[in-house]
């Protein structure tokens, strides 16, 4: 793998950048792989990378129907944090956050992981009780987290309307300094480049149209480029997970919904932290390019259309103005939607299935991006050992039968 560095840039500038290597090969599919990973988004690519790096399995294909990182990896609002309520979720997301912290160096790819801190605002007394509860749990789980009062919030974000004149005045917030944002596309590309260097075949424009099983064991995937046999198949297809499961007759406890987001035109720097509010339903940060990156609420209905309804965006605009009245004259440049697969308890599924050799990693709902490294890391372990990683164990499909759900709804709600 060609190492990237500032010096390298200088060197290549002398030859007019004519000699940069390809970041990944464009291989012809082999007839057999040890592991086929379906889905070339951040989670799938991370899974491939950690399988190759930590578990010595390199005969891997990542099968992607479109282009790498083109699904929710390309469509999220890039927020990273780990201040989840329940121990199981908090520990999984904190595992991810710790991996984020050294990832650019590990992958030799600048993911622009920017720990500018995340604020979750409270607007009602119950919000504040929930914030206290979550922050206390976070701290005892070893996660940096603080409760801020209104004055502290105002100091941190001077442009936030912390007055009592709003419809839902801000009563305080939780604050995770280590949270922040990352350059979403770079995460997919960084993992792809590193996985490719370890020998993983990245098969773009390769769509899985069926799966073969024999006596309850997976034997491979049918694709638009022919059958690919595999000892193990791992599906990391987010919104399309139910479609994949359906190919082997499985149902999952998932619903796929549109989740919308939007960006403003670029502005001179004005907002340094990530600000989220469950209560008024909006979250916002400013990218390094200057755009305000704004997350909307989830559309209520099932939808695979990568688009949602206008009224959701209207509400989001109102929510942002409720928090930041100064942004009223700022203009929205672009809106879009992703497909999020939501679980009844707002927690993911990282699990074996009734079919031997078939694994699913899905159900991340609105919270997938931030988990990317952790998700790939524990899923790779689960696949390699055919046994869940300790952090993944609580997230198996069994919990829907036993009733041992990890209900993050109250703590997470819409805002991720």
């Amino acid at each position: 793998m060609q190492q990237y560095s500032g010096f390298g840039l200088f060197k290549h500038s002398l030859s007019h950048h004519e000699n940069w290597q390809r970041v990944w090969r464009n291989p012809i599919p082999k007839s057999h792989y040890d592991v086929v990973i379906v889905g070339g988004g951040g989670h799938g690519l991370a899974t491939a990378y950690y399988l190759a790096k930590n578990h010595g399995i390199t005969n891997i294909a990542v099968v992607e129907k479109g282009y790498l990182g083109g699904g929710n990896t390309a469509r999220n609002t890039t927020i990273v944090r780990s201040n989840y309520l329940w121990d199981e979720a908090a520990q999984l997301y904190e595992h991810a956050l710790k991996l984020w912290e050294g990832l650019a160096q590990e992958l030799n790819y600048n993911l622009m992981f920017s720990q500018r801190g995340v604020l979750n605002l409270g607007h009602t007394l119950q919000d504040m009780r929930d914030i206290e509860r979550r922050v206390n749990a976070n701290r005892l789980n070893g996660i940096d987290s603080e409760v801020l009062n209104t004055e502290q919030v105002q100091q941190l974000v001077p442009i936030l309307d912390c007055s009592k004149n709003t419809r839902y005045p801000i009563l305080g917030a939780s604050w995770q300094p280590r949270g922040g944002t990352a350059r979403h596309d770079a995460v997919a590309w960084g993992y792809a480049r590193a996985a490719n260097a370890l020998g993983v075949d990245l098969l773009q424009q390769t769509e899985v149209i069926g799966m073969r099983t024999q006596d309850g064991v997976i034997s491979g995937v049918e694709t638009n480029r022919g059958f690919i046999s595999a000892n193990k198949v791992a599906c990391v297809t987010a919104g399309n997970s139910s479609v994949l499961a359906n190919m082997v007759g499985l149902q999952l406890p998932l619903e796929s919904h549109p989740l919308q987001a939007m960006v403003s035109e670029p502005l001179k720097p004005i907002l340094d932290t990530v600000v989220m509010s469950n209560h008024v339903h909006g979250y916002i940060s400013q990218s390094d390019k200057g755009d305000l990156v704004i997350g909307a609420g989830i559309d209520s209905y099932l939808g695979y259309g990568q688009r949602g309804s206008l009224n959701v965006l209207e509400h989001t605009a109102a929510a942002i103005i409720e928090m930041f009245p100064i942004f009223s004259r700022v203009r929205i440049n672009r809106t879009w939607g992703g497909i999020v697969d939501t679980c009844p308890d707002a927690c993911p599924i990282i699990s074996k299935t009734p079919i031997k050799g078939l694994y699913f990693n899905c159900g991340w709902g609105t919270g997938g991006f931030k988990a990317t490294p952790g998700s790939g890391h524990v899923f790779a372990h689960t696949i390699a050992h055919d046994n869940p990683h300790p952090l993944a164990k609580p997230f198996s499909l069994d919990r829907f039968i036993s009733g041992q759900l990890i209900d993050e709804h109250g703590a997470a709600g819409v805002a991720h």
Partner: protein
């Protein structure tokens, strides 16, 4: 001095001189100008600096594609970041400035860095550096962020207001060019209701700058007649200055109308912008086409413009933006720019036609005017710094891939280019449909969808064919929306012109390879060059989406309008694919940027969400209440008196209630009237306890679970008669409970005869509570409210203060309590009578906080505070509210029998007594058994409610603790953020009057 203003022509009013400021200088323009035309009239060359390399940039277009003239317009609270000068109508005293360049656009310090560092900034350079050491990134980023952004956000709240209108129409026409106008007129004559909207200041589109002849008059005169007709027609609504920003499902479009932006910075007492949401039976896309620039060396030096923009400035604004023009074109249409230039009396140095020698009417026309036309050549490079001073032209081969001879230099100050036209199909793609490539017009057209297309957006460019298409499409749209199509409007007389075929050329070759040639810009806003795209391709970014994301092609505020097709063509060529194989990125809303305030409409400030008030709200205000938001309701939180602190007020309110009498406004509790002969059976199914034997006049507490067995709401339901019950719900849960009841009734048990009506707003509810509450009640009520007549958990019809009322003897405080329900309109009056009657007992109004304390002393839960969606009734030690013997398996019951819900080490509700009895344990504090353990600690539960009890004299709390009910007497620890560790003892959650004697009192 408007050095570039012509003495005649244009749609400007020379009698109305407008003065404006740009970058601190004062200039003059005319009514009818855009800011761009006025700047060009004044000979302003440099209007901005580019984002990455800080290169000087000038105005390039006359429309929504403009990449360079992006300004900060307006002052203070009414400033707007990033409008395009080409779409900003001039008004008197307009103030504008460039968004980049320091200290100013003419002398930008960053330009040096851009020149030196530029070579080290290929696409994606930031992914390849700034990584080491890890700790430094935040510092690097600080510097990177300093250079971010275009304009500045206002720093104070918006003084303007916005609103929203909804429309339903038969035919919606998007685009007020000649195609749209003819479609509207022809559709409207069938009787259909038509709306037509147009983004520009003036209707007319490209035809405004046409020099053709229609029906023996000029095209512009003919156009004016049509527009006049349009405005006369009563069934046509014309929305000008109105941008359709998005096309949404089921034929909905969103339009943003700029109502006052052309009048000034801030126009008091008016709506600045209005979003129109139109549901149309048929939508006609008549959005026209944008001209494509060609990609050639140094094509960003001020003076490089689109050919069509030049015609627009000359014809519409009487502005000629230079002296010596070189025009490069791949097609006939651009010739008009040179002809207009020539006719305006300035010099056309040459028309450089990239095509092999060809002939057509307009070529002849140019030749006849003596303009020098050079075929089979291209402008390969421009020279100049802040203005073009010459170009190099060179012969190219027939496919436009290579330079095949030496270059020669031509002196000029303006370079117009045209690579053909791109239909404005963006809206057609908003629902996910991919555009289709057409080789014959060298452009993408809308893919198949529910929209009708006409005019240039469907690849028809000649005026005659546009008019024909508009008329036909308008008729078709009316017909499809159910109107009888009449004889179409007549087609006017236009002499068809003989044209020559255009050439498919996007990226002009240079003598050097692309990577070594002078910068050839594709996307001006993000400084994306042809070399950058080729490099991205070489590195493996081959999907057009990857190219976009890696190079930032199309990420600007024009969303790639100007550069995307060229970028796609360059990618296709470098990957040896065709353009349709390469495909486009998907266009998404917004078509052009849309003000956030307009999207929010009126839903700002106190109208962000509806606020609900009880009948006594004014009284509460007058008596100094502090309020708490509960859902949409404003509830009194506590009533501080004479400068009391909150804690002082609570102590007073609690003691008054326990010792004498308090009064609570409980109107916000949800109330659902349930009637029907099967009402009782329905309650049996929906609640966890049994309702078969609840007698008339009796009340009972019930808990509702979701089917997963977890508590979802609670409240008291009373039997009015055998077929009539009144249910109360939590304040926040009312709507959800009603939906829940309807769901089960309508979908599972339609055979049950039962009806639900929300009556929350119909009743005012006031609760008087405390040992003296009966005495107060008896002063305003002649009915018998003794224990015999009105025992605990029963209700009666009565008259209170002369008003018919229902009195429920139920208690959430544990005291003798009466809940008095009267019709809402009379609530305030009854409340006041009770306050008067209670004066001798010092009746004390209390709010939600005292209510919370008093109920917690009794161990009564608040759903949502003491429960969180993971708590069963058993977890709350409330087995008494579960009836095991009901014949019907009530909602949620089966789920209690799952492995996890059966565990006896679940978190269970307990009481906590702090070791330091004055210390109120923090709500939300986590509980551990061993405070010395390392992180992450094993947490066994958390505090859900915690208060200081005035009556008990010590603090107390409710908590959920693992195996809590079997841990009474054990000590637990609550480690705090500040390192302090609170100690507490687990106890029964019932702290006050555990036997419940007080509520049963005589």
């Amino acid at each position: 001095m408007q050095i570039n203003r012509l003495n005649h022509g244009g749609n400007i009013d020379r009698n109305q001189v407008l003065s404006f400021q740009f970058n601190g200088m004062t200039y003059q323009g005319y009514q009818g100008d855009t800011l761009a035309s006025a700047l060009l009239a004044n000979g302003v060359n440099v209007v901005g600096r580019s984002f990455k390399y800080s290169r000087p940039r000038g105005i390039m277009t006359a429309d929504a594609q403009e990449p360079n003239a992006i300004f900060q317009i307006g002052t203070n609270a009414s400033t707007i970041p990033n409008p395009r000068a080409t779409q900003t109508p001039l008004y008197d005293n307009l103030v504008a400035s460039s968004t980049n360049g320091w200290p100013n656009v003419e002398f930008d310090m960053m330009a040096g860095i851009g020149k030196l560092g530029g070579a080290m900034m290929p696409p994606g350079f930031y992914y390849k550096t700034f990584m080491y050491p890890q700790s430094m990134w935040m510092n690097y980023e600080k510097l990177i962020r300093k250079g971010a952004g275009l304009g500045r956000s206002p720093m104070t709240a918006d003084p303007d207001r916005y609103d929203t209108m909804h429309h339903h129409c038969d035919v919606m026409i998007i685009g007020g060019g000649v195609a749209g106008i003819m479609a509207a007129l022809n559709a409207a004559q069938t009787g259909a209701n038509v709306i037509i909207c147009d983004e520009q200041e003036q209707l007319g589109g490209q035809t405004l700058s046409s020099t053709e002849t229609v029906n023996d008059i000029t095209a512009t005169q003919w156009l004016s007649q049509q527009i006049e007709q349009l405005r006369k027609q009563e069934n046509i609504l014309v929305l000008s200055r109105s941008t359709t920003f998005g096309y949404y499902d089921h034929n909905l479009i969103g339009i943003n109308q700029r109502c006052t932006d052309h009048l000034g910075e801030h126009v008091p007492h008016s709506t600045r912008q209005r979003v129109h949401k139109v549901r149309a039976k048929q939508i006609v896309l008549a959005t026209g086409a944008h001209e494509r620039p060609l990609v050639y060396g140094n094509n960003d030096i001020p003076g490089c413009m689109l050919a069509n923009a030049i015609s627009t400035y000359i014809q519409c604004y009487a502005v000629i933006p230079g002296n010596k023009l070189v025009l490069m074109t791949t097609n006939d249409s651009a010739y008009q720019a040179a002809i207009d230039w020539h006719d305006a009396g300035r010099q056309v140095m040459a028309i450089i036609d990239t095509r092999p020698k060809t002939d057509s009417a307009i070529i002849q026309q140019a030749q006849n005017k003596g303009i020098n036309i050079i075929f089979s050549h291209a402008v390969i490079e421009v020279q100049g710094s802040k203005r073009v001073n010459s170009v190099n032209i060179a012969p190219i081969n027939n496919t436009g891939d290579n330079v095949i001879g030496p270059a020669i230099n031509i002196v000029c100050d303006t370079v117009a280019s045209s690579g053909g036209w791109s239909p404005v199909l963006h809206l057609s793609s908003h629902l996910g449909q991919k555009p289709l490539w057409r080789d014959d017009i060298i452009g993408f057209v809308p893919g198949q969808n529910d929209l009708l297309n006409c005019g240039a957006v469907s690849g028809k460019y000649a005026l005659l064919s546009v008019i024909e298409d508009g008329i036909a499409t308008g008729g078709k749209a009316a017909e499809l929306s159910g109107f009888e199509r009449l004889t179409d409007l007549p087609i006017p007389d236009i002499i068809p012109q003989i044209t020559a075929a255009p050439m498919a050329l996007f990226h002009v070759p240079h003598i050097q390879t692309t990577s070594r040639a002078p910068k050839q810009f594709v996307d001006y806003q993000n400084d994306v060059t042809a070399a950058a795209i080729e490099l991205a391709n070489r590195e493996g970014f081959e999907s057009i989406e990857h190219v976009k994301r890696y190079t930032a092609l199309g990420f600007g505020t024009d969303q790639g309008k100007l550069g995307n097709i060229n970028g796609i063509a360059i990618t296709a060529k470098s990957l040896a694919k065709t353009i349709p194989e390469t495909g486009t990125t998907i266009f998404r809303p917004m078509y052009t940027p849309t003000t956030m305030g307009a999207l929010a409409g009126a839903h700002v400030k106190q109208l962000f969400a509806p606020a609900r008030f009880t009948a006594m709200h004014q009284w509460h205000l007058q008596h100094g209440a502090e309020f708490e938001d509960v859902g949409q309701w404003k509830r009194p939180w506590y009533f501080p008196k004479n400068g009391e602190s909150m804690q002082q007020a609570l102590l007073r309110e609690c003691l008054a209630t326990r010792n004498s009498v308090g009064i609570l406004d409980a109107s916000t509790l949800g109330k659902i009237d349930i009637q029907g002969k099967d009402a009782r059976e329905f309650l049996n199914r929906i609640y966890t306890n049994a309702w078969s034997k609840l007698g008339i006049g009796k009340c009972r507490y019930g808990v509702m679970c979701k089917e997963d067995g977890m508590i979802f709401d609670d409240g008291v339901t009373s039997c009015i008669n055998d077929h009539h019950f009144i249910m109360t719900t939590t304040t926040g849960g009312a709507a959800g409970v009603l939906q829940w009841l309807e769901l089960w009734h309508q979908t599972e048990w339609p055979e049950l005869e039962v009806y639900f009506t929300s009556v929350t707003d119909h009743w005012t509810t006031m609760t008087i509570s405390g040992p003296n509450s009966r005495k107060v009640l008896q002063k305003v009520c002649q009915d018998d409210v003794s224990k015999q007549a009105l025992p605990f958990m029963s209700w009666i019809d009565a008259t209170v203060a002369g008003v018919k009322a229902r009195i429920f003897r139920i208690s959430f405080t544990g005291e003798l309590s009466f809940e008095i329900n009267v019709p809402a309109n009379l609530g305030l009056s009854v409340w006041q009578h009770i306050m008067d009657a209670g004066a001798e007992f010092e009746i004390t109004p209390y709010g939600t906080e005292t209510m919370h304390i008093l109920r917690a002393e009794k161990g009564f839960i608040i759903v949502g505070q003491d429960t969180d969606g993971s708590v069963t009734p058993q977890d709350l030690d409330m087995n008494w509210v579960i009836s095991p013997n009901k014949s019907f398996s009530c909602i949620g019951k089966r789920s209690w029998d799952r492995i996890d819900t059966k565990r006896n080490d679940r978190k269970q509700m307990v009481g906590l007594k702090a070791k330091d009895t004055n210390q109120v344990l923090p709500e939300g504090a986590q509980i551990v058994l061993d405070p010395q353990q390392k992180l992450p600690m094993t947490m066994v539960g958390h505090v859900t409610s915690s208060y200081f009890s005035a009556c008990l004299g010590y603090s107390f709390a409710l908590a959920l603790v693992k195996s809590g009910t079997s841990r009474y007497g054990e000590t637990v620890y609550l480690p705090q953020a500040n390192g302090q560790i609170y100690e507490a003892e687990i106890c029964s959650p019932i702290f006050y009057d555990p036997k419940g004697e007080r509520q049963h009192v005589e």
